[in-house]
Symmetry: C2
Subunit: 671 residues, 2 copies
């Protein structure tokens, strides 16, 4: 069967691609980073999709694989594009020095093994007084980041932790025992570069000098983590668990309400869309229609920047681009029935490769299920006491990433009112560093004895490529303004929703005083009821943006994280808010800032809206040893798109259908 | 059995109170507005609750009923306090002219019947050309509001609507047929005051002149709603319903996880609190402890102001205080099994009285049930692939109010991480007014032919009376600031969470650039891990505030709606952000503005935090004929209150317990 152009590459396709790439570099060793489908140009896809919808059988656009890999002997990163059916390389490129693809666990493992044999590291272990714990030591392999150098070698920095000194349990919480040195490893040269020491004296440290703090005044060889204590998250390692939680089961006796058609499209409650999976982004939603009308061409998580607040070297370099430096697809969890979701679940697998080019399938990287989400709408006619009520059923597409210490849960919710929500949950373990006993730091919180969790931000960017009844769309700024006192406003109560279409690519910020929201409109199509252009409202999040100073490398690298909204003209392959090559970048190249700088027309054009928002996380003690989910949500809602409430035809909620159970007890109704 | 002081009055107690009040006014006619428990002074309650917790059997504070009623012959509102056990009036008060208790449906019915017999109204019906539809006409009885007069008579204004002209179905959507006149009725004098005419010409109208617009230039007697069309929300009146939604059932085979003790306290997952019900506020949460530690003394919805944007008289007066003008308890829906909540449900009833003093029980005004709310926390150790994951179970206390056209769903969520969330859903039907064919208005949206839904705001206020490990608490402002470039911040990346305790009662606003949040601390108790005072973080909503101009009557009446946070010193009976007597008020009296003006110490004192936030609703066509829920949520989360994640002891999520079902189909895993 011909794959759909939005289908990921099959295992067979990937294997064929690997063979081509390898044969093109015979005699050399490759380290493969990723193999994904190169999404066809929209100019080809749009007519293809239109023809499919018209029931025709159009010829699909060329099926191209995009491959990123190192040629290890050359120490340079390559990328090439392979025509999949013919197994021919159609384009290839050697990237210049200083451009770095994402890190991967194999590199981190290699770095760990090499570094811990090195005399400098052995010396550091001795200085920190943890020689007797050498078998407990482990690392989080981190992107090196960047502070001021440019065209850097490929570095990896290692945050060192110690598994529980008492037990060395492999799943004890190592983040409760941070060891204050950072080996820096050159991945391509395969050698240790140096060992940096961390300041551990809290507010008493002089930040400018690397490694200064109580660490250097501590008698050499004294066990520096002696004041740290066991603090485990694993249920098996708890002293006492709750025993009073009763089972809660979700049953769908007639099965789920969706069906999947032969092109792999999901059909549920008038929705029709296709789920995709890419190495960089993970879960992607394509070609979204509701009741036969087009809404979005593509929805995706585009980037996330995680800068830390502590300026003391070397940890000032902690700034992760979780998608660009690691990869949403590559970090996706294999989900487990009965654990990650409740009810009637369908899973989707993802195909990935390892550095050697072995292709395998990661099972259950995306799950899909229905959820009851409370009341959909209700009205009681108080004159007759007649109640009309529906429940709100949603279809959830969920993926979960583990990026080192942290977990991110991304879920797209589709509802029965033609709304889409993106829910993000941040959980996992805060990244920690050692702090001496008796010290505090304004840059973080002590979450366990000797353990400081630095303040940090998670600035997300979601990319919305709309197709509101077609590809010619306009982003309109909706600002509420109070009208001045005058003859037409004699009581001073009037306010108005002003609407300003955006003409040229630009960025803009939230403004809560103005109740600002953006609406993506199709100005060529007027709602017959309201007389307004049809559209979708973007219910974004007004949050703090990046705190790094203007001119700082951190800010230069993550321009996307400095404004809430970026409105750009669509360009094929322009998918990543922070640019393609974020790892060790000194600047955001090819991201939203550059896209805006093209100063293109975006009115009644093929426009893309990018929304940045985030968590500024000052950890609390309750975030350790594992962080309860912090939940954020954005809303895409039809706004004068339909001629009425799209969920008015949802059947009334009733007991025959819902089968609830009433509890009555000895003390009935007493409040 | 002795009632708990936080228990509502029983039917028997209320009946006894009614007898006392009536006998005190023998020979006069009373119109009872409300009978509720007067909450005992905190100075008595706090030691009582402490003694109860210590296992003692303390004497409860005096049990006092608070009664509000009219003496109809005097045309004045009275309030009195009755000692319930002795059935003696302990205090009474005749309120001065111009102070108005809430409206009620009995008054609205009386007004409707009287007005529609009046020649002025008959004339208006004729002028509007709907004489032939007189049996279809009905009203929403609205609070009159206020524009400039003071010490006003007790007025009620009627928004006139027409049931479907074709069917006159009692539950047809009358809001699709708005009739453009407003009879004003004097409730105490029992007479029609006048009929106001509404402007219907949209942006062509001159706002300053009452009733101007195309209405007055339309040939007299022409059917003014001829261009309106049937637009029903009731399932029974739809042409076509969806048929492809499959059942979704929630089962708790071992029953719920909570138990209710002999004092009526809910015990669930270490939570211990009492649910209350008052005529004014409806659902109230009292005396909240987690794992034996005090968190909040009282949580309640305090007020909501709903001002409309259209300045054209008479509809400029549309401004409702849904709690103060109507009452959260009095508007509470009787919830139905299988409709308003899903799963294993426990209900609580509420006791109310009618104007004659008949006491009755409204069934199921509050429901309580558990919900699965996704993942609680997760971490995968990528070195070992060992996954630790819990689900997030919440306990939901829900109440639903119908206030005329609108519905509000208020739900307090208690979670397993010691967090509390307040979720508000706004649904129901937008309040509508007539607009002539072919016109538009900047003050609203045409949601159905001839039907304009004016822009409006819902500004809520939630009152949080904390007791964070005791009653001496401090509100601390947490602002994130970027540090300047200097020797200690050589890369310009540092930022810090600054903490400013509030000393004197005040208001303050959200500031998203500063990532501002408030934390309620107990400065007398230091977290042994972090060294910070124990506390709860308030995750509020940063939204637009009231748009009415400074100096406007609307703004004077709702000072609480002009700033996000108000920090005041606790005062017994000070429960209502907009003051006690909001109906037809000209100013906010006894609300948060006055409380702040006392300029009292609030540091390390008995402090109350009030949070205002809202929806600025520019209706969309999709909000008609019934509005899909608009959802808002605020979060109260422990912040350095515990010594670690309180939910670390929640058992691991697993299939044995959760019993999910995997769906496999013909096109397995293809994406």
């Amino acid at each position: 069967m011909t794959p759909h152009p939005f289908d990921q590459l099959s295992v067979q396709e990937m294997e064929s691609v690997v063979r081509v790439v390898k044969s093109n570099h015979s005699g050399k060793s490759l380290h493969l980073k990723s193999i994904g489908t190169e999404e066809p140009p929209k100019a080809l896809m749009a007519p293809f999709l239109a023809a499919k919808r018209a029931g025709k059988n159009p010829v699909p656009p060329p099926r191209i694989a995009h491959v990123i890999y190192y040629v290890l002997e050359d120490k340079l990163v390559n990328q090439c594009w392979v025509d999949v059916p013919s197994a021919k390389v159609v384009k290839s490129e050697v990237l210049k020095k200083g451009i770095h693809p994402p890190i991967d666990p194999w590199e981190a493992n290699e770095a760990f093994e090499a570094a811990f044999d090195h005399p400098l590291v052995k010396d550091a272990i001795k200085k920190c007084g943890v020689e007797h714990l050498i078998d407990n030591l482990t690392i989080d392999g981190w992107m090196y980041g960047c502070d001021s150098e440019i065209d850097m070698p490929r570095y990896l920095q290692m945050l060192v932790y110690c598994r529980d000194p008492k037990t060395n349990h492999q799943d004890s919480n190592m983040y409760a025992f941070p060891v204050p040195f950072v080996p820096v490893y050159d991945v391509l040269e395969k050698k240790l570069v140096r060992v940096d020491y961390c300041a551990t004296g809290g507010d008493d440290d002089d930040a400018a000098v690397e490694g200064v703090g109580n660490y250097d005044t501590r008698p050499e060889g004294k066990n520096c983590i002696e004041h740290c204590v066991t603090n485990d998250y694993l249920p098996e390692l708890q002293d006492k668990m709750r025993t009073d939680l009763k089972p809660y089961n979700v049953l769908q006796p007639e099965g789920p309400s969706y069906h999947i058609d032969s092109d792999g499209y999901i059909n549920w409650q008038k929705w029709h869309f296709k789920v995709g999976f890419t190495p960089r982004e993970g879960l992607v939603i394509h070609d979204v229609h509701y009741d036969g009308r087009s809404t979005f061409y593509r929805l995706s998580m585009s980037e996330m920047a995680v800068p830390y607040a502590d300026p003391r070297p070397p940890l000032h370099r902690k700034m992760a681009f979780d998608f660009g430096d690691c990869g949403g697809g590559k970090c996706a969890n294999e989900l487990t029935l009965g654990c990650d979701c409740l009810g009637t679940i369908r899973y989707f697998d993802g195909n990935v490769c390892d550095p050697e080019g072995n292709v395998f399938t990661r099972k259950n990287v995306i799950c899909m299920h229905e959820q009851d989400d409370g009341i959909g709408w209700k009205h009681t006619n108080y004159r007759t006491d007649v109640v009309a009520i529906t429940r709100r059923r949603i279809l959830v597409l969920q993926t979960i990433l583990t990026v080192g210490n942290y977990e991110y849960i991304f879920a797209w919710h589709f509802d029965q009112s033609a709304g889409i929500q993106l829910e993000i949950r941040a959980t996992g373990i805060v990244s920690t560093q050692l702090i001496d006993a008796g010290k505090k730091s304004k840059f973080g919180t002590i979450v366990s004895p000797g353990v400081m969790a630095a303040s940090h931000q998670h600035i997300f960017n979601v990319r919305m490529d709309p197709a509101i009844d077609g590809h010619q769309n306009t982003v309109v700024v909706n600002d509420t303004v109070a009208l001045p006192w005058d003859a037409k406003n004699p009581h001073g109560i009037a306010f108005e929703n002003t609407k300003t279409p955006i003409e040229k690519s630009c960025y803009l910020d939230s403004d809560i005083q103005k109740n600002r929201y953006l609406k993506i409109c199709n100005e060529n199509k007027i709602n017959p009821i309201s007389g307004n252009p049809v559209g979708y409202k973007i219910g974004g999040l007004a949050t703090a943006m990046l705190y790094a100073q203007p001119g700082s490398v951190s800010r230069n690298r993550a321009a996307f994280a400095t404004h809430h909204y970026w409105v750009t003209k669509y360009k094929d392959q322009e998918l990543f808010a922070g640019g393609v090559w974020t790892n060790q970048s000194a600047n955001e190249v090819g991201g939203v800032q550059d896209a805006v700088a093209r100063n293109e027309n975006v009115r009644n054009d093929d426009v893309v809206l990018w929304h940045s928002f985030g968590l500024t996380h000052h950890p609390r003690v309750e975030d350790f040893p594992v962080m309860p989910c912090e939940i954020m949500k954005i809303h895409l809602s039809p706004n004068d798109f339909f001629t009425g409430n799209p969920s008015v035809d949802v059947p009334k909620s009733n007991q025959t259908f819902n089968r609830s159970v009433e509890v009555k007890d000895c003390r009935s109704c007493k409040i």
